[in-house]
Symmetry: C2
Subunit: 182 residues, 2 copies
């Protein structure tokens, strides 16, 4: 997950695991199979929980608070996940269309409908659901992808970075709600 599919060496993986390289092949056959296992494991850490939250039957603001909090909790504990998943998706876009979501593709249409409804009820301003969802995802995920750059620019160490991310659990939700509430 650190080096990516093409950057990782089977020998290094074996070393890291403290076993012989042949044993890696014994269990996983080939690099691609191993990659697939790792990738699915990573993706399944990220997506199912999100889909669940998005489809809960709760008010929009609560949903936003839940989503950002829970998403950040996952990613804080697995900071390599976003870069790994997105990077590999980027390099082989077609390979994942159905592969990774399986029979449970994330469906934001319900959330989009909810956003429209709460607008009708005068709770929020008129907002484009597509952009709202993108904004929410962006603010949750990006800091972990840009971590090295952020740390360099802000001149902060890992601990300070983690503290910032803990803050974001509530910061992002407040930021979004402040923007869209009427």
């Amino acid at each position: 997950m650190e080096k990516g599919l093409s950057g990782a060496r089977m020998q290094d993986i074996a070393n890291e695991a403290g076993i012989n390289k042949a044993l890696v092949h014994y269990y996983f056959r080939c690099k691609e199979k191993l990659f697939e296992v790792i990738f699915k494991e990573a993706a399944s850490k990220l997506f199912p929980r999100i889909v669940a939250i998005v489809n809960e039957e709760i008010p929009l603001f609560d949903k936003i608070r839940n989503f950002t909090r829970q998403y950040l909790e996952v990613v804080i504990e697995n900071p390599y996940l976003p870069m790994f998943v997105l990077n590999e998706m980027h390099k082989q876009p077609h390979a994942f269309h159905a592969k990774m979501f399986g029979n449970n593709p994330p469906d934001f249409s319900k959330l989009a409908r909810q956003i429209d409804e709460e607008y009708q009820q005068g709770i929020i301003k008129a907002v484009n659901p597509a952009h709202l969802i993108m904004n929410m995802m962006s603010m949750c995920v990006f800091p972990f992808i840009g971590k090295p750059m952020i740390q360099e620019v802000m001149k902060i160490d890992d601990l300070q970075f983690r503290y910032l991310m803990e803050q974001r659990k509530t910061e992002i939700a407040n930021f979004i709600i402040d923007s869209i509430k009427k």
Copy 2:
């Protein structure tokens, strides 16, 4: 830039350029040197303009509108840039600390001060500059990193995606300003 340092093959690069592989070495010596040239070229497309906008002497809201518009213009024309730069930074964090910014490191302290000032003047709410800047960057960059995923989830093609990104030139600024204005 599509495949990354470890994923790209010198032969493929030569093929793509329609020349002999030895010629690539003739001009660039080795893969790392070629990478360095490409990386610096990519980074210099992204950062200098941003730094300039951030340090202009204009009101915060105008600055936010300028930043998001110009950033998106660069990235819409070079959609591979963010993933490439961030991915390679991720894989060799130390190698870029000074290397890529050279003697002109981006300095957001002035912007942070401006945010504080405009809060004192009652123009905006109390906001943490670090998070505000991260949010702004996130919303500009992330969609291009998550493009394959976004297209899959939203079921949209390249043209529709581009249209969404054109919208974001103003959407993001409005979203931010709505959130922080008093």
